[in-house]
Symmetry: C2
DNA sequence: CGTTTCATTTACGTTAACGTCAACTACAGT
DNA sequence: ACTGTAGTTGACGTTAACGTAAATGAAACG
């Protein structure tokens, strides 16, 4: 069972698969968020890089900076790291988890809030519609 | 019941209450996110502006841009707007609500994901600790 | 009335996260 | 050998969201 699939994507394939530009992928490499292998001069993105990219894009949607994300990404290949480094990474992960849980709670609140405003607005709109009909009758 | 409390804050008071800088508040005014009244040359922020500021800061934490937020803020003083404008605002609000609900779901997923990585990492760390003890015995 | 103490306007600086352009290079097909 | 078609590396440009500094004005205090 020698897992012989190539399983690497070119930069174009990555862009289409994850809806990003080449510039973005090169930028992420420069910032050490991704580590594509080189076949000659070209980049090839393996499964590890794709998993990382998913986490990057996800983190961005939650409002985290790339630097925030970069530090956290170590969480996903802790295998080779030493004890001290691992502890630091775990601390960082726990802190991030707390942030996300807080954000989760706040997001729930914001959602119910917005829903209330929406129904209020819809009632207001219904009122205006009736008013318009009344005017039409009088014309 | 003539509600005679002044109920306005100076820029400093605002900064301390909401942990922002004066620059930020002036910037938000320039971008038409806030509309402080003027007493002579100075700004005074009333209840409406404070409510808006809360929503602004909240929106930012969820990764929305100030321009995104500005458009949505109309949701919270729909009283005077006309029918067409109100419909547009409501559409925008519904779209935003959908985004936030999606984000909510994704955030939940991300949280369980991160928790799993954390426990994995902690087990790994425990293993390294035991290995270290074994070494100590042999020394 | 002079001097701190805030606040204001104007303007230029800064950082993050890319966009855009120019000038190569590597290879594939004809 | 010529022509595309990706891909690459600089290098500079851009936008958002403020920071920072300078000059001015108003207000309160002794």
């Amino acid at each position: 069972m020698t897992n012989a699939q190539p399983d690497v994507l070119t930069i174009r394939e990555m862009c289409e698969a994850y809806d990003v530009t080449p510039r973005t992928l090169r930028f992420y490499e420069a910032k050490e968020l991704l580590f594509p292998i080189r076949q000659g001069t070209r980049r090839l993105f393996g499964r590890r890089d794709r998993a990382r990219l998913v986490l990057i894009l996800r983190g961005k949607r939650f409002g985290f900076s790339l630097e925030d994300i970069r530090q956290l990404l170590d969480m996903y290949h802790t295998e080779g790291s030493n004890q001290a480094q691992l502890e630091k990474t775990l601390d960082l992960g726990r802190a991030r988890l707390a942030q996300m849980q807080a954000q989760y709670a706040e997001l729930e609140h914001a959602i119910t809030d917005l829903m209330r405003q929406l129904t209020d607005g819809e009632h207001l709109l219904a009122g205006k519609r009736r008013a318009n009909e009344d005017n039409a009758i009088r014309d």
